[in-house]
Amino acid sequence: MTKKEYLDKLTRELGSMSYNDVKEILGDIENHFEESALAGKTEEEAAAMLGDPSELAADYKDGMTFPTIMKKKEQKAAKPSVKEPTSSTVAFVVLITIFVAIPAWVTLLGIVLGILLCELGIAAGALALLCTCWTFGPFLASGLLFGLTLLFFGIFGYAVTYFSIKYFVFGTKWYINSMKKIWKNGI
């Protein structure tokens, strides 16, 4: 049985449980598959070692008798909800974002757009030159050479554009994630 088949079967067998319970259980078992893979086991081996999914589902249901469900609810209610960020964390994130991140982001965006426009210009120039150089007569050879040089420059420019856009998006995502982490866990 593959991981997907196993999880599908387990989901069906857990049927009557709440959405949140099923989601948590599937997460645990999915992690088990991933850990097994890291330990060098195939999905089939991991599934076989986990045992019959219907038995596993039955075990889960046995453990969730009515009183435990009630207790869990009480515990949840007693627990304070998500930790509020401290004022210094808020100040840090807000200040960095306004005074460093946003100006830097706008500048970088400008540079990326500039590179993109240059690239389009070079490509257009090269194409135009190559198309019209047949009319140059005696300057045909030098026109052709210049056109080809421009074209290769254009191809090189594509690579630069591609990577600058890629790292720009990557950097933006990284920044947002790290700020989220700081927001949640403090500085």
Binding site: E24, I25, D28, I29, E30, N31, H32, E34, E35, S36, L38, A39, A46, M49, L50, G51, D52, P53, E55, L56, D59, Y60, D62, G63, M64, T68, I69, K71, K72, Q75
Partner: protein, 105 residues
């Protein structure tokens, strides 16, 4: 070995493993299934039940190359349960052993 036999004492085994130190599902399953013939899956409902009853608490910790691991930690309530259950088990297993040996002779 008979499944119903095991189920009762696996809770105790899991608590004992966690007494040694916090651990995550795969590790607990691996430790137990290397010593007792059982399915890896069996420990997950047990851990979930122990967490629901407040005997263990959970927290997430990043791992180097795999998914974040859900670690289980024995709570004070869990330590008390471990002491109680262990004593009960010791008395029970001694009694069973005594009976079985009586029958032999």
């Amino acid at each position: 070995m008979n499944n119903q036999f095991k189920k009762g004492v696996l809770d105790l085994c899991v608590l004992t493993i966690l007494k040694k130190g916090d651990s995550y599902g795969y590790d607990v399953a691996d430790t137990l299934s290397s010593k007792i013939q059982m399915s890896d899956g069996t420990v997950y409902p047990i851990l979930r039940k122990l967490a629901a009853e407040g005997y263990v608490s959970t927290y997430l910790q990043e791992s180097q190359n795999g998914p974040p691991r859900k670690y289980y930690h024995l709570t004070e309530l869990g330590e008390e349960k471990l002491i109680r259950d262990k004593q009960e088990w010791d008395e029970f297993s001694q009694a069973v052993k005594g009976i079985l040996e009586d029958m032999k002779t």
